[in-house]
């Protein structure tokens, strides 16, 4: 599922619920949510979505790496990388979908 498919599915759900909202609203909402999540992490602020999961930053200490082409060593500075941990509901639903499929 891509971002545009997600927008289309959201718009479909809204229509089912007789919402006044249209495709354009779903598009702007998806953009706003993803922008807010990205800037939150960029500020070092974690994200916690109950039933979905949490996003944190993991620290990577500085290290000496190698340029794979020339073989020369380069120092790689310390950095932070985004990390996602699935929440209980997501973890259980995804795992259950696997066991249900195996039985079926």
């Amino acid at each position: 599922m891509t971002k545009s498919e997600l927008i289309a599915r959201l718009a479909e759900r809204l229509a089912e619920r007789n919402s006044q909202l249209v495709n354009k609203d779903a598009e702007l909402a998806v953009k706003t949510i993803l922008d807010a999540m990205a800037s939150s992490l960029a500020k070092g602020q974690r994200i916690e979505i109950r039933g979905f999961g949490s996003f944190d930053l993991n620290y990577r200490p500085p290290r000496v790496g190698r340029n794979p082409k020339s073989g020369s060593s380069v120092s790689v500075p310390e950095k932070y990388v985004p990390h996602f941990k699935a929440g209980k509901e997501l973890r259980e639903r995804v795992d259950l979908s696997l066991s249900l499929r195996d039985e079926g």
Partner: protein
């Protein structure tokens, strides 16, 4: 400070002009659609943010740390997230600036 569904709904109210109920519903449905796609075995690719993928892990031997008894850890499917280059760049940039 943590970003939660409540703050995201507030943003949709302030910036997108949804009413409070619509905003709350939109945020809930956003995450539910992603959960459903993953549940259906689908990868979720959100350009500029990152990809949610599924990994099937085979059964492996485990041990009860208390009793030392051997019990197999059953095969399972897990969700992994890979941040986009853009998101990784934003995070690195911020911390580089903070230190520089």
């Amino acid at each position: 400070m943590t970003l939660t569904k409540a703050e995201l709904a507030d943003l949709l109210f302030d910036k997108v002009g949804l009413n409070k109920r619509e905003a709350k519903d939109m945020v809930e449905t956003f995450f539910e659609e992603i959960r459903q796609a993953l549940e259906a075995g689908d990868t979720v690719k959100l350009s500029g943010f990152g990809n949610f993928q599924l990994r099937d892990k085979p059964q492996r031997p485990g041990r009860n740390p208390k009793t030392g008894e051997e019990i197999p850890i059953t095969a399972r499917r897990v969700v992994t997230f890979h941040a986009s280059q853009k998101l990784k760049g934003m995070v690195e940039q911020y911390h580089a600036n903070k230190q520089g």
